[in-house]
């Protein structure tokens, strides 16, 4: 993921072991779906922790583009443009 990259993917602490400890990754993907596909190619264990084997984002994972949850935009088809930040966040949990 070292192409001319202008979009930042923020990786939560528990998942950084799956991407060589990186807290953020750079991409030039044009959509959230394309960004996840890029993660799948370069960091399969990271991708598998975000999406299950059907490609569905796990129930307790939230994806934000800047401050907007992707479900409030176009889901995985939400477009990414230079300067965007894609944040991967686990949901809050109970006891």
């Amino acid at each position: 993921m070292a192409r001319a990259a202008t979009i930042t993917i923020f990786v939560p602490g528990p998942l950084r072991a799956y991407c060589d400890g990186a807290s953020d990754l750079l991409t030039s993907a044009s959509s959230v779906r394309a960004a996840l596909e890029e993660l799948e190619r370069h960091y399969p264990s990271l991708y598998r922790s975000i999406c299950d084997e059907t490609g569905t984002v796990r129930r307790h994972i939230n994806l934000f583009v800047n401050t907007s949850h992707v479900r409030d935009r176009e889901g995985l088809d939400t477009a990414l443009v230079p300067g965007d930040e894609l944040t991967i966040l686990p949901a809050v949990s109970g006891g």
Partner: protein, 370 residues
């Protein structure tokens, strides 16, 4: 190094390991391992250098398999966890059983939704076993309260017995290539037909190396008072087979309840079997006084073992994989509770003591002398 008694304790908040000398006077506790997420299955693989395995059932990031090569002092994730193949349409929800296979480094793994996976490299890679995972019945199985899980894998030479809740008992006689529903005599209380071909809520199945063909089953009992279609179904909860699981008969007479989850057989006597009866409605011990019940004649009669256990006001559940027995000359039983106590029953369950009082809710307990 002298032999050690090792316990793996899977809990709601991760994995614990307890270790003792063979005297079992005191156990040292380590953990939790595995990010504090639920652990539903563990395995102590004593073939060669001992390896410990645990499922780490992460509700956020998915399933992982943990492995230790230093007797539970540290754990690392294996290179991959079981996953349904592309296009299958199912996604892994939980890992319910981990068992050793025939060959060194061969592991088998039962999962939710009910399916079976096999590894030939100690858990680094996994392949789905189609004979049961794509069985013609597979899409007809229904989840129980615990989910649709393949929780029991029992190997006897070329025979493989599977317990599925709710699917029933499935038998392979070709090493796991093909499977047949084998539930003759296994009742179901939650279906109009009291003895369906499949769909029973089997809770656990055990066998014994010295008694080929003998199996014991804890099934989902508690239907003696059912007054709907099909009528009452008493004593369907505890069963025995003497023909490799082709047919089953009740051995529940004499128990205070035929409902329960675990069933354990004595390591040196195939006629001695243990259950932990629970009230079918509450899943807690009858009269709020927990007891393990032992039969020393293959299920013909039962005796209550409760010395040292609470006599009243005790309302825990012991889940299907939360009771085990070690293989020492005078074996000890161990069970963990949903209220976080780990109990040891010395002298085959004659005398009970609480080893740990305040662990997280316990899902599974395994013991081995290594």
């Amino acid at each position: 190094m002298p032999e050690r008694v090792v316990l793996t304790i899977g809990t709601k908040k991760g994995l614990f390991v307890a270790e003792s000398s063979k005297t079992r006077r005191g156990f040292a506790l380590r953990g939790p391992f595995g990010s504090g997420v639920p652990v539903y299955a563990t395995l102590i693989d004593g073939r060669g250098t001992p390896r410990l395995y645990a499922s780490s059932c992460n509700p956020f990031f998915g399933m992982k398999v943990l492995r230790s090569t230093d007797l539970g002092k540290s754990f690392k994730e294996t290179k991959s966890a079981p996953a349904f193949p592309e296009g299958d349409g199912r996604a892994l929800v939980n890992i319910w059983s981990l068992e050793v296979g025939k060959n060194k480094k061969e592991l088998w793994c039962g999962v939710e939704p009910a399916a079976l996976f096999k590894s030939s490299d100690g858990g680094d890679s996994w392949e789905m076993v189609p004979g049961i995972s794509n069985h013609e019945h597979a899409r007809k199985w229904q989840p129980g309260n615990g989910g649709l899980c393949l929780h029991t894998f029992l190997r006897d030479g070329n025979r493989v017995h599977l317990g599925i809740s709710t699917g029933g008992h499935y038998l392979s006689e070709d090493g796991g290539e093909t499977f047949t529903a084998s539930n003759k005599g296994v009742g179901a209380g939650f279906a109009p037909d009291p003895y369906p071909e499949f769909g029973q809520c089997v809770h656990k199945i055990v066998g014994h190396k010295d008694a080929p063909g003998r199996l014991y089953m804890q099934n989902h009992g508690g239907w003696a008072n059912w007054d709907g279609p099909g009528g009452p179904r008493p004593d369907i909860g505890v069963l025995r087979s003497d023909d490799h699981g082709h047919s089953w008969r009740s051995i529940a007479k004499g128990l205070p309840s035929d409902f329960g989850f675990p069933i354990v057989v004595h390591p040196h006597d195939a006629d001695t079997v243990y259950v932990l009866p629970l009230e079918p409605q509450t899943r807690t011990c009858p009269g709020s006084a927990p007891a393990v019940w032992r039969s020393e004649d293959g299920g013909e009669s039962w005796n209550r073992l409760a010395r040292g256990l609470p006599k009243k006001e005790s309302f825990f559940t012991v889940l299907r994989d939360a009771m085990d027995i070690d293989e020492l000359k005078s074996p000890a039983l161990y069970f963990g509770t949903t209220t976080g106590q780990l109990w040891i029953g010395r002298d085959g369950g004659e005398q009970w003591n609480c080893l740990f009082e305040s662990l997280p809710p316990i899902h599974c307990v395994k013991v081995a002398v290594v």
